[in-house]
Each structure stands twice: as C-alpha cells, then as structure tokens.
C-alpha cells in the first residue's frame, strides 16, 4: 500500500511541471522542495533526538553566505564554493554542538535561539563581509553538464533530485540501528547510558548531521533566490522551519515534507491577500501547538484509528 502511494507521489512529482503549465507553480514547487530539505534536516534533531532547536535558519545563512562570498569575491566555481560552504557549515555546527549539548530541553532551545541570533547579528552588522542589510547579490545558478538551471523546469528537477537524495540519506540513517539509538537517547537517555551507549556522542552526531543537511538546503536556497540577506536568518525563519516539522509530524519521515508543503502553500496563498504573514505564522503556531500537538501525520493516524474503532 505504502509502496503504491510512494510510486504515485514520485510520478506526480516528476510530471508536475507538465501538469502546472506556468512557471509560477513550478517555482513554488521548487521552493517547497527546498523548504522540505530544511524541515527534514531539522526533524533529525527535533523529531528523532528530541532536541528542539530554534536556530536552524542559521545553517541556511552560514552555507549561503560562505558559498556566495566565495563565488562573488574570490572567484570560486559553483562546485567548490558549494563544497566549502557545506563542509565549513558542518564544522561550525559541530562546534556549536559542543556547547549547545551542555543542556537539553528548554535550555537547549534557548541556546540554539541565541546561536541563531549571533549569526543573524553577524550577517546584519559585519557589513564589510556580508554587505549588511543589503546582503549579497549577483549570484548565478550553476549549469551542470550544460543544463541551464536558470530555467524554472530544469531547476525544479535539480531540486527534486537533491530532495530525493537527502530524503534517502535521512531515511537510511533513521532506519539504521544507529537511528534506533538516536530515538533511544530521546525516550530513555539514562537507560541508554546504562546500556553503554554514549548518549552525548550520539546527540552530537545528530546535531552535526542536522547542520550538514541544513547546509545543503542553504546552498539550494541561495541557488534558487540568487540572493542572501540577514532576513533569511531571522528568528521568524527558524520558527517557520520548526513549524513545518511540528505541523507535519515530528519524528516521522513524511511529516516534515507535508508540513513544508502546507506552510509554503499557506504563505504563498496568504501573501496574495494580506501583508501580515508573520501574524498568521504566529496564530498557526499557537493553533497547532494547542490542538494538533502531534502534527498532521499523527493526527491523521488518530483519526483513522478513531474511524476503525467506531465502525
């Protein structure tokens, strides 16, 4: 059953540019795929390791700023700037992890929020490097094997490819025995410790992996927009990513993808009628937390069970 659904979803995704016709919806689909990469990477930490982070947009910013700066100011190629961007962001995530994992729970959340704000402050105030409020522009999309990614459909397929690779890697990771130990540190840290697992190290690895996949999303983000500014690192953006995870269903593979699609669609539809996206984001946040705390995937399962019971 799941396999059939999966195949149908894949065919739909592949055929999407032909169904939608215009580039507006294809671009929206690309944005959803990129948002889903962020949500899936954050889900590793929030859903599987049980550590709620409010600084995920920082990785977007790090990877995007580092690679853009290298491309614009040092003449790096697309490949090398992307690689340096991803690797250095992962390394910085590793260092952040050393500090942030001194705590868990609410304190962890506060520390990651502070980290996110440090990076935002850097992007905003270190004008010589980052261009301050103006950000960095003048970037181009790569053209691998001569395919022009400046074209909306081509970029969509590129984003789909990267999305599938990230999805597959994360699926393999969380379904592996190691993935089970990550979940173990969430549910029973003391017992895991007693069983001889190094809880801290498992958490640190997950934290760093979250940064690695987030960095991939950051590169995709900057390719899509060809522009990066401090606004992309704001707390609201980190919160948006967290909302995708929670709304869809933390700790499930599909939840963050569904959450990303919902949040991006809502944002796009809403912005046609009102200017106050952030107000809506806040209200949706409160609503989800109060009424669908497990997310839509879990809510759907509960609903299904409820139907089965009443039958």
């Amino acid at each position: 059953m799941n396999r059939i659904l999966f195949t149908i979803a894949l065919i739909l995704l592949l055929a999407l540019p032909m169904i939608t016709g215009g580039s507006y919806y294809t671009n929206l689909a690309s944005q959803i795929l990129i948002a889903a990469i962020f949500a899936m990477s954050l889900n590793l930490l929030v859903g599987y390791a049980g550590l709620t982070s409010l600084g995920h947009a920082g990785y977007l910013g790090l990877a995007a700023y580092i690679s853009s700066w290298l491309m614009v100011n040092s003449g790096f190629s697309h490949i090398s700037s992307a690689l340096v961007g991803i690797l250095s962001t992962t390394a910085i995530a590793g260092i952040f992890g050393l500090i942030a994992l001194r705590a868990t729970g609410i304190s962890f959340l506060m520390i990651t929020l502070a980290f996110g704000q440090i990076l935002w402050g850097l992007a905003y105030r270190w004008v010589n490097i980052t261009g301050g409020d103006n950000g960095i522009s003048g970037l181009t999309r790569p053209s691998p094997f001569g395919i022009d990614l400046g074209e909306a459909n081509n970029f969509y397929y590129f984003a789909l490819l990267i999305f599938c690779i990230v999805w597959l890697l994360i699926a393999i990771l969380v379904r592996s025995p190691f993935g089970a130990t990550i979940r173990g540190t969430k549910d029973q840290p003391r017992r895991m410790s007693a069983l001889g697992f190094n809880v801290w190290l498992i958490r640190w690895f997950t934290f760093t992996a979250c940064g690695f996949f987030g960095a991939i999303g950051g590169i995709m983000f900057v390719y899509y927009h060809q522009y990066i500014s401090p606004h992309s690192l704001s707390l609201a953006n980190s919160a948006e990513m967290l909302l995708m995870v929670i709304a869809g269903g933390a700790g499930t593979l599909m939840g963050p993808v569904i959450g990303a699609a919902l949040v991006m669609l809502l944002k796009n539809v809403a912005s046609q009628y009102i200017d106050n996206w952030v107000t809506l984001l806040g209200l949706v946040f409160i609503f989800i937390v109060m009424y669908i705390p497990g997310g839509i995937v879990a809510g759907y399962d509960r609903f299904k069970n409820y139907l089965n019971v009443t039958k």
Binding site: T52, S107, A114, A239, G282
Partner: protein, 286 residues
C-alpha cells in the same frame, strides 16, 4: 577619562533596563519552567503603548503606569487562555509564547508603522547632572536609580512577604510546595502577570535611550536569554548581576568594536555554559 566615565554610565543604564526585562523572565522560568519567548515582544509593546500615551499629551509617569497595566493584563490573558491549557507540557508552552511574540511584533508594525520613534524623557530629567566635575545625562542616572528601586522592591516581595515565600518554595521544590497547599495555578498567574508588567514598564522606561522600532523585540529577547543563562535561571540575584555585566560588555563592545559587539556579547555566555552550565547563581541545572 571622560570616555570611560560616560560609557560606564551608559553600561549601568543599559544594565538597569536589562534587569527589568530579565528579572521577570527569570522568575517566570524559575516558577513555571518555561522560557517566555514573548518577553521581548512585551518589552516592545510596552514601549509603544507608552509612546502613544505620551503622544496623546499625557505625562511620562502615566505612560509608565499604562504600559505596566496594559502588558500585565496581556500577560494575564496569555497565561489564562493559552499557557494554562498546555499545563505540564513546557515545550508546547514555549512554542506558544513564540507564536504570541510573532503576533505582537507584526501587529505593532501594522499599528505603529515601521519608522523608529523617539520618546523624549520627562522634562525635569532631560538635562545633565554634574558629578565630580563631569556632566552626565540625568535620565540615565535616573534609569539606574529606577532599576535599583525595582530590584529592592522585588527582593522585598520575594524575601519578606507571604507571597514571596510561596514563590520561593515553588521555585525550589514545586511538588513539595503544592503538597503543603501552595496554590500553584494562582502563583503562575501572578508571576506571569508581574513579569510581563515589568517587561512593559522596562520598555517605556528604556524608550528615551533606545527609541522604539520594529525589531526591538528581537534585539532584546536574546539579551534577556544571555543575561539569565549567565546569571542562572530562576535567580533574582543572578538576573541583577548578569544584567549589569551584559550592560557593560555590550556598551563597551559597541564603543570599541562596533562590528563585532554582537559576538563579544555572547562570549561570556559560551564560557559560562562550558564551565558552569547552571549559571553564576543558578540553582536549577540547565
């Protein structure tokens, strides 16, 4: 010499402002075990409410009062209708406060516009004061005095009243306190209301030196986080010492290394987390 003196006063004034913000944040955390992420937004909203009162031609004191009452009531509503329904699930509560913060921030932008607004200090505090041959802006001195008065008031409340005893007992051991009949729900309401009101008052009190602008909330919230992580969650003394420490680090950082002031600000937090995760005066381990 005068650079150091003036900067020191600026540091003290900023520290005083931070204390009105961080004291409530820390008390709320200590009692309810939640990080109130709308605290920065309360601070900004307090400043805007005060601004409107002043612009309507009323006195600065009325503005202080109005900000305190308005934000205190708002806190009461948030506690009663959102946080209490999520009791027992602190992560959901924290995320809900974040949602509230976004609604307030965006609503203020819509209502008061995007331009920075300056509130002038009350006229009798507008000039300078001469201390040992050096002229200091009087309002900043008044701000320091005001924060010390607030600190003493809070200390008296916590240390000398029955309410304070109940709060301290609940901070130290909530289950035990509830077991001997301390009304936890009522305490939550009181402390959340009080903390919010303090943040609102802090906002308008700080407006003559910081001005009011969209994004003030996002500037202040991390400062409050750093102060309480540094000083220790749930400790009034920690919030006091942490506020003035951060006040000095931020003011001097901004004067000496304007590009990197933001980074310098977070360094002490990182050191504290590495060496003593519960903070300087914290009893609750992180």
């Amino acid at each position: 010499m005068s650079f150091w003196l003036i900067q020191s006063l600026n540091s003290l004034a900023l520290g005083g402002v931070l204390f009105t913000l961080a004291a409530g944040f820390s008390l709320i955390f200590g009692l309810m075990r939640i990080a109130n992420l709308s605290h920065g937004a309360y601070f900004m909203l307090g400043a805007y409410v005060g601004l409107s009162v002043v612009e309507a031609g009323h006195s600065f004191f009325l503005a202080l009062l109005a900000a305190g009452v308005a934000i205190g009531l708002l806190g009461l509503v948030v506690e009663r209708f959102i946080l209490r329904r999520l009791a027992g699930n602190s992560l959901s509560q924290v995320l809900a406060t974040l949602g509230v913060a976004f609604v307030i921030a965006d609503g203020s932008l819509w209502f008061w516009g995007g331009d920075p607004r300056l509130v002038s200090a009350p006229s009798f505090l507008a000039g300078g004061i001469k201390i040992i041959g050096q002229t200091f802006p009087l309002y900043r001195v008044a701000l320091v005095v005001f924060s010390i008065v607030v600190a003493i008031g809070l200390w008296l409340l916590l240390d000398k009243t029955k309410l304070g005893v109940m709060i301290r007992a609940s901070v130290d051991d909530r289950q035990m306190a509830q077991g001997i009949g301390v009304p936890a729900t009522k305490l939550f309401s009181i402390v959340f209301c009080l903390g919010s009101a303090l943040a609102g008052i802090g906002g308008i009190a700080a407006a003559p030196i910081l001005s009011v602008y969209p994004g003030l909330d996002a500037d202040m919230l991390p400062l409050a986080l750093v102060v309480v992580i540094l000083g220790g969650l749930g400790s009034l003394l920690g919030a006091f010492v942490g506020s003035f420490l951060i006040g000095f680090i931020y003011s001097f950082g901004q004067a000496l290394f304007p590009d990197l002031a933001y980074i310098i600000l977070f360094l002490p937090m990182l050191i504290i987390l590495a060496v003593r995760p519960r903070g300087l005066f914290g009893k609750i381990s992180a």
